[in-house]
């Protein structure tokens, strides 16, 4: 029934929103798409899986472990694959993009070596708890996923728009040279951005594990593609666009699978991209080209 599908769709959308937030933050500040973000999410999911299924750790510890592992990975990504390119004053945007593609391939293969192929069960104490409300089954996990997604999106928004640090990151996003003469240490700002985006990715990994009850080393690829699709039609670099785009895609996929044909589920993202870009080339929440020229 519809209410059930809407709840499933919004839950999935919340996860997509958190994944897309990671892409949009890095794109906003560095003007590059971090192609390794999907694999960072995957590593967060595996860190969470080891803690949850392996050690039976409580949920807060599962999140903490995943966030720390993904944040550390983000730090290494910036230090080893992005910063050296800036040092050599490589100005082509293609170079860091390719660099992150390299990292994503590396991470996927390292994960395969470490954890092995196939699905790994992701068990949490909440896994089977559910309640019924007006005939709709709601899993506790869905409530947790939705709550945490919204909290993360709100926290990121407040950080970017209500704090001095967020102010400086937005300045770097618009013009890093100007930000630097106003006193912003650009390397530090970029590190903070990539690490924070990766930490959000780690949390997203746990949410995905909880939603599907298992994780695999290949999950980064499909989740990465969806995150990319969302920031393209939501508007590159926009927080609101990532959240709205995530929810739209989650709902669309769920409704298409339920009422049409589950085979078309993964095509939803591309239907939406085509549709949105035909009407608004800058994406739903993107700045229009005229405003950007100033």
């Amino acid at each position: 029934m519809l209410a059930q599908q809407l709840i499933n769709g919004i839950t999935l959308g919340g996860i997509y929103a958190v994944v897309a937030l990671g892409y949009t933050m890095v794109f906003g500040v560095l003007d590059i798409i971090n192609m390794a973000h999907g694999e960072v999410v995957m590593f967060g999911a595996f860190a969470g899986m080891l803690l949850a299924s392996g050690l039976g750790a409580p949920l807060w510890a599962v999140f903490a472990g995943a966030v720390i592992a993904a944040g550390a990975l983000g730090y290494l990504l910036e230090l080893l694959s992005l910063r050296p390119l800036r040092r050599r004053r490589v100005t082509a945007k293609l170079a860091p993009l390719i660099s992150t593609i390299g990292v994503s391939i590396l991470l996927e293969n390292v994960a395969l070596k470490l954890f092995g192929p196939g699905n790994h069960p992701f068990k949490t104490p909440l896994s089977d708890m559910k309640f019924s409300l007006a005939g709709v089954d709601i899993y506790l996990v869905q409530m947790v996923i939705l709550g945490i997604s919204l909290m993360l999106a709100a926290a990121l928004y407040l950080w970017l728009y209500r704090t001095k640090e967020g102010l400086s990151l937005r300045a770097v996003a618009e013009d890093s040279e100007i930000a630097s003469i106003l006193g912003v240490n650009i390397d530090r700002a970029i590190t903070i951005t990539v690490v924070t985006a990766s930490m959000a990715g780690g949390a997203a990994g746990v949410l995905i594990g909880m939603a599907y009850s298992n994780v695999s080393t290949q999950m980064g690829v499909s989740i990465g593609l969806k995150g990319l699709a969302i920031i393209i039609f939501g508007g590159m670099g926009s927080v609101g666009g990532a959240v709205a785009g995530g929810l739209i895609l989650g709902l669309a996929e769920t409704l298409i699978a339920a009422y049409w044909d589950s085979g078309y589920r993964d095509a939803a993202a591309f239907f939406i991209i085509t549709l949105v870009l035909l009407v608004r080339p800058q994406g739903l929440f993107g700045r229009d080209a005229a405003a950007m020229r100033h």
Binding site: S168, R170, D175, S180, I181, L182, G183
Partner: protein, 233 residues
């Protein structure tokens, strides 16, 4: 008192050498101008002082401290603020956020008081404080860019062609503002193509050509100089 000395500064972009040994000195006594045609190296000189371009040789001393190889975010904390060519305002931020960014390098408790002072000096900015800076006119943007630089409480202000693209009236207002800032005790290094106006408010001036200093002297002398009159006035 001498605030800044640049001595034999060479700098460039890849294979382009934009400065071939430029020396200037700025003190608190009187505004100092750097004049020269398009492409002479004026902007590069200010960028080298602000830390945006690293000199390949030469020395830049600020109050006796060697800042030649310092990062821009460190240089502004020494007390040097740059009003960049083309204003450099952050168009996707509000006017108020631009001013807050100007105080990013500060951690004292007087920032709101200084914002209030900027609003008093530039009333149009108070009116537009909640608007995106991208909606301001050219003259308003220049005022915002200067106000933002002042928010760092600089002791040396670098201005890169502040009158560029402004109507005569707005340009005059900018030059008057620069005089006022200098009168309050801030050293000023002014880069201009508008040589007459710049010399009128300056005490001393340098002329650059193809990345090298070709002439220098008191503004009074340069205003009378034949060579200068022919090529710039």
């Amino acid at each position: 008192m001498v605030e800044l000395t640049a001595d034999g500064v060479e700098a460039g972009y890849g294979h382009v050498q934009a400065l071939r040994g430029v020396s200037v000195s700025v003190s608190t006594h009187g505004i100092v101008s750097v004049l020269g045609a398009n492409g002479a190296g004026k902007t590069t000189l200010l960028k080298a002082i602000a830390g945006l371009v690293e000199p390949s040789s030469g020395k830049i001393l600020y109050r006796g401290i060697d800042i030649t190889k310092e990062r821009p975010d460190r240089i502004v904390r020494h007390g040097i603020a740059l009003v960049p060519e083309g204003r450099g305002i952050l168009t996707r931020m509000t006017v108020l956020d631009n001013l807050r960014m100007g105080a990013y390098c500060r951690s004292d408790g007087n920032i709101n008081g200084d914002i209030e002072e900027m609003f008093n000096r530039f009333p149009i900015l108070r009116e537009r404080q909640g608007r995106y800076a991208g909606t301001l006119s050219g003259g308003q943007r220049q005022m915002l860019s200067i106000a933002r630089a002042l928010m760092s409480r600089p002791s040396l202000l670098l201005l890169d062609e502040p009158s560029m693209g402004l109507a005569p009236k707005a340009a005059s207002a900018v030059f008057a503002m620069i005089c006022e800032i200098h009168a309050r005790g801030t050293a000023v290094l002014l880069v201009e193509q508008n040589a007459v106006q710049a010399l009128k408010i300056s005490a001393y001036a340098y002329v650059l050509e193809s990345g090298a200093g070709v002439l220098q002297g008191s503004a009074e002398d340069l205003l009378k100089d034949r060579a200068i009159q022919k090529s710039y006035l």
